[in-house]
Subunit: 229 residues, 2 copies
DNA sequence: TGATGTGAACCCATTCACAGCC
DNA sequence: GGCTGTGAATGGGTTCACATCA
């Protein structure tokens, strides 16, 4: 009803909205004003029917016989994703990854800004990463509270990830992005997303192994191959 | 057949195998020899039936009434994922992210090793990251060939990601992990996986927005956010 | 006419529930 | 008795195909 759909979007469709969004922003930069589901599908490397169904969860924003207005659709997706506000984010862990994340311009360009980076390691405290000074992990709660942070990023080693999660939850954070290779245990209601590099590589490894089995011999000399008693 | 299942594992199940694997490795380190589907499920935060079905794709490796042998199951998962060999990996892009990835110990600890890092930026060439010297992007094909690399990681800015992909494919690589916020276009048969930080954050943002809507005052229909002035 | 929006069909993934084996 | 392995049931996601409307 009305034009603010509060029904929830299926997880799978939700995961594609940011992809469409980015494409729309690019199209807009090129001066494109209208786009069809077919074109969007092409650019996002998915099926056109899927695009239409995904977008239909937002509301009825297309024009039959014409397509979608790029600007308008951009706005609607942003609003639905909550990107019409800039979310303050705190990063736990100032190692390689934490620093890379803090310095990653894509974050601030897309609706988020880093308001704090904390670490337990005294030698890192005080250094400047991503425009903020690294503070001690003990100050986490204080930062979360004073800056009304609701999204936390865990970029610690695996051993400290659960502690970091606990601290974030205790501080009142509602959503966690976990870069540590651990399954976090958090109370019901806290959103967690996991990004795991090694895990993704291992999946690639599986497909690559299959590719090679049909085509060529084993890539590395390391070992005799997948089969061989 | 029989003992070596060459049928392909469903994508969804495949994505969970590395999670089980990591848990098994941890269990083994603690000296645990046997594990039940129930315990594994608990640790992986999934349903026990799912664990059993997932593992059943590998073969019949459990013992009814007892559970799974940790060592043996570990080996079987590793073998199925192709992790009984160490895959050489090349990284394109030596910026913040590329450096963080190259220095990430989790990679080398889990069946992969970095054999090359390339960049177009002259100022980066020659510097040492992750134990290897950064070379010019022109040398990519030569590295891929001489080291039999089949997995490439794209850690460039969005604008250069497609070029990087093209170069990797031309050099004969079969699998690509894409960290750039772009939908890559590659020939059929090349495996691509995308890891997109901003995209994941935007999904969190959606859930966080919904959380706030039910619980606290809305971050204001228009903006003003959780912070407000 | 041309492209959206969507019921219906299809397909894959998850979960159930129990037969089978230790 | 206990726990795995798996058919069968369920549920979600994708795709089809067409009614609908600018």
């Amino acid at each position: 009803m009305s034009d603010t759909p509060r029904r929830k979007i299926p997880e799978a469709a939700l995961g594609r909205l940011p992809v469409y969004l980015r494409i729309l922003v690019d199209l807009s930069a090129e001066g494109t004003g209208q786009v069809s589901s077919e074109q969007l599908a092409e650019l996002a490397a998915v099926n056109a029917a899927k695009v239409r169904k995904d977008l239909s969860y937002l509301g009825t924003y297309g024009t039959r016989g014409v397509g979608y207005d790029v600007q308008f659709l951009t706005y609607q997706i942003q609003r639905e994703l909550g990107l019409n506000q800039s979310w303050p984010v705190v990063i736990v862990g100032a190692g390689n990854l934490g620093q890379a994340l803090a310095n990653f311009t894509g974050i601030s360009e897309r609706g988020f800004h880093i308001v704090g980076v904390v670490d337990k390691d005294e030698s890192k405290i005080g250094s400047l990463v991503g425009g903020v000074r690294v503070k001690h992990a003990d100050e986490l709660a204080q930062i979360v509270l004073s800056k009304s942070v609701s999204i936390g990023i865990i970029a610690t080693p695996a051993q400290q990830a659960q502690d970091a999660a606990d601290a974030l939850v205790r501080a009142g954070i509602g959503s966690i992005m976990n870069f540590a290779p651990t399954v976090l245990s958090v109370p019901r209601g806290v959103n967690v997303r996991k990004v795991d590099l090694a895990l993704e590589l291992q999946i690639l490894s599986y497909y690559e192994q299959r590719r090679n089995n049909g085509l060529r011999s084993v890539p590395t000399g390391e070992q005799s191959g997948p089969v061989s008693a």
